[in-house]
């Protein structure tokens, strides 16, 4: 568990409301509630509506979770079904 006091800014890129994106969003919400309660902000970006945003964060795959804050930027792609991987990937728990 992290001891950092920074606020977490997470961004989830999806392409329409597919099964994968719904799963990913649900998973993410769950992990955040568990580990980062009150310290996080999730922004969901649907690339079908805002395709121009894909370039900025170098999005290839969907769904992609981007940790904007804290730096450095981290990306996790997939439906986030593996909790440990997500937590390690976001550096919420040490590897």
């Amino acid at each position: 568990m992290t001891t950092e006091h920074k606020k977490w800014e997470l961004r989830l890129y999806i392409a329409g409301h597919t099964e994968k994106s719904v799963t990913a969003l649900n998973n993410l919400r769950r992990y955040c509630e568990e580990h980062l309660k009150g310290q996080y902000k999730i922004e969901v970006i649907d690339l079908l509506r805002k395709p121009q945003l894909a370039e900025g964060d170098q999005i290839l795959a969907t769904p992609t979770l981007v940790r904007k804050v804290p730096e450095p930027i981290r990306k996790i792609i997939g439906d986030l079904s593996n909790e440990e991987k997500v937590l390690v990937g976001l550096n919420i728990i040490p590897a």
Partner: protein, 582 residues
Amino acid sequence: MKTTNNTKQKKENKTLPSLQKSPTGISGLDEVTGGGIPKGRPTLVCGEAGSGKTMLSIEFIVKGAMQFNEPGVIMTFEERAAELAVNVASLGFDLEKLQADKKIKMDYVHISRAEIQETGEYDLDGLFIRLGHAIDSIKAKRVVLDTIENLFGGLDNEGILRAELRRLFTWLKDKGVTAIITGERGEGKLTRYGLEEYVSDCVILLDHRVVNQISTRRMRIVKYRGSLHGTNEYPFLIDAEGISVLPVTSLKLDKEITSDRISSGIPTIDEMLGSKGFFRGSSILISGTAGTGKTSIATAFADGVCQNKERCLFFAFEEPPLQIIRNMRSINMDLNKHVKAGLLKFCGARPTLYGLEMHLVAIHKEIQQFKPSVVILDPITNFISIGSISEVKNMLIRLVDFLQNEQITVMFTALTLNDQMNDQTDEAISSLVDSWLLIKDIEYNGERNRAMYVMKSRGMKHSNQVREFVISDDGLELIDVYVGPDGVLTGSAREAQMLQEETGVAIHNYALSRKDREIMRKRKVLESKIANLNSEFESVEEELNKVYEEEELRKQILSKNREMMQTIRRGNGADEPQNTKK
């Protein structure tokens, strides 16, 4: 054609009648492919690192935007857009401006395994959306994905990747864009990750080989579904103006032929060739050992061509052009004025500068720019240093083909080393030249002289005589050689023979005049004899005449006496004594 109307997209089926092609604008490539790469389909360009894949695809996009009014998207997985722009700026491609004009859109896709974690299912919709957005924003007709295989390096789940790539290529077809996908050459297959499985309409393989430390780029159309295409390996060149591919071997021998003649610049050589010179558009070989004046003949030809206000391109592979100009001044040939008038252009390059194919491409380019009516290559034998004889021959065949198509006369010079090597080098190219002049050294009587003859000259009457080839301060000349009892006489032996003959004539003349004088003398003697006889005859005649006159006189006197006697006898006695007295 198999994926005509999969999902969305407009009225497809436009490819039904025959395969539509999208011109690349890359010089030579469109000829090789018969009009370009398949329109509305992906084409795979594969090759090793540094083989020019990126250059080819960028040029495809830039030319499309500039020449064919087809905007294009460059999605690069390797180089940052800015880096790419700098890299191709050397070719005069201003990517920044084209981007500002909305002719081109560049997108750099950065993938780094370090930054990315994968958990669970995903797809590459992000990439599709990015590409789709880029295409739609400038209404692109052309797309380049360079090198999409980098995805394999950045993402772990190959199963998903492969499925998504397959979907991507289908999607590109549905979008109706003409795409080039580049891929790194793999071991034993065309691309490292087997992209050729997905892109099967047109595959172009680029190659970069180094032989004898000289590199040559080559291109081959491995596959072009539904279209004829050249199957050879075509060399190509990347230079200051981009890529030039050489569609080198013309498939047919159906070039136009003229019977126009072009002077060799040396009147005596023209004389040997039916008094008219070479055929225009033919190929001429001048071969000979070192120092026999091959370059001099070639420059004389160039000089003659320029004096007729035609253009001549001179490739000097041995001497620097300025040196040639200086040297030719010594035989009364001013090439500099032709150079200044823009009629003569020298291209000096050491053969080892680049590979054979590159030379060929470079020669092509120069010819297409300068548009000469005569091309001279001096000498071609130096190419042996960078390729085998058969390779050189191949290159020359292709060059001659090209030149004959363009109705350009070409003259090669070839160095023959000595008599054993002699015909090997020559034979390699003799079958492709139309006229072949051979210069030989004749070493005799302590000196070396040059003799020239016409080995062959297709389609014209030509002399079978060996002539002595003389280079003097006034230029080049052919002189009849003297054939003496010891063989052919040249140089001072010929001079000696000429002197000897002159002496003979003088002696002969002297003898003649002596005889004349003797006759004169004889005549004089005769004439004086005749005069003697004449005077003798006159005296005899006079003698005779005297007798006649006396006789006459006597007759007269006799008849007078008789008359007197008669008178006396008739009685006139007084007169009688007078008469008898007499």
